[in-house]
Amino acid sequence: MDEKVVIAKRVALEMKSGSLVNLGIGLPTTVANYIAPGLDVYFQSENGIIGLASAPEQGMVDPNLTDAGGGYVGAVPGAASIDSAVSFGLIRGGHLDVTVLGGLEVDELGHLANWTVPGKMIPGMGGAMDLVSGAKKVIVAMQHSAKGKSKILKRCTLPLTSVRRVNLIVTELAVLEPTDAGLVLKELAPGVTVEQVIAASEATLIIPENVGVMPISENETTAARA
């Protein structure tokens, strides 16, 4: 299975019926493809729509209906359009259940850095700081390493997105949960060993006696529930 599919399928299992969810651009967006059918999840996009749906077929787009990356999307029946103040009121005010974001670095304190590489990449934080500070649950969905360097560090070296501790980190190798004691290895991806995860992490991981395996299916487009 493709590494990014592993991540998306595992993150999809965190979605609960009735949730309001914000998916970041890129890998996080693909989580929507693996959410169990019939699960009553609404997607919020910070540019001002609650009830985002996948892009309509070619020739059926509305130029005034886009996601936060500027891509054309659809909306489910019952969707609501809102302005930017309301949108971020939902995000900061405890109305958004889950946000899934990509990451450049995460550390033992559960801090996330994902908005800038000073001197190299200065895109701006967009909505990321509000999302990480405000959402009820923050899930970081990212690859464990980049260019051979671990992204799971003792301490972030890049400017932080927030000092709020994220709730869960999902990579192609493992599920990690930041706690008061540090990063706990909760699950392994199918076929991955504890030693492989330790070797791929600069951070010191807490290894419980029993480490589970991600309950994701190999061949279905929709992840099977454990």
């Binding site: 302005d83 103040a85 900061r92 990321a128 405000g134």
Partner: protein
Amino acid sequence: MHKATNCTKAVEMIPDGATLMIGGFLGVGTPNRTIDELVRQGKKNLTIIANDTGRPALGIGKLIVAKLVKKVIASHIGTNPETQRQMIAGELEVVLTPQGTLAEQIRAGGYGLGGVLTATGIGTTVAEGKQVIEVNGKPYLLELPLHADFALIAAHRADYNGNLEYALTARNFNSVMAMSADFVIAEPDHIVPIGVIPPDSVVTPFCCVDYIIERCN
């Protein structure tokens, strides 16, 4: 008051050095005809308050490429390499602000508030130089209000009184900015007779809107 005017006359009112709020999110809900006219008239030393700077050939990006801007306050410039280039070269001042904070600063400016307290940015580079105020044991950043000389906003429909309706994600910052400038210039897709937009459908009330750009110059 007769609010309908054309693009040329509306933009002629904007002096060099003005502070402009411009609606839109990556070009969606951006007043494109007004921006094209700003470029055509070559307004200079503008300060732009906006969510983003579009793309080089899209929306606010055109103002950046034409070098009409001295300062930008925005949440995201990643889709416009020219903004980043001018910033790194020291030709353009850029203040990067979290998107929700930017919306609240603009809202505060239009709602008569002395600022807003937000937990967003605490402990990050965004907090540098800002006052931290503790409320019920929790730290918040004091973010100050923003105000503009002109707000340039895009709407779906306007009536000739200036009531505005928006379309889907093209609303974004437009309705917030319509409260926060000395003069508000609205560029609607359609202008309809007064009474066609029912009161319950009005998002921006007519009293906020000073000028409505007609479809043709």
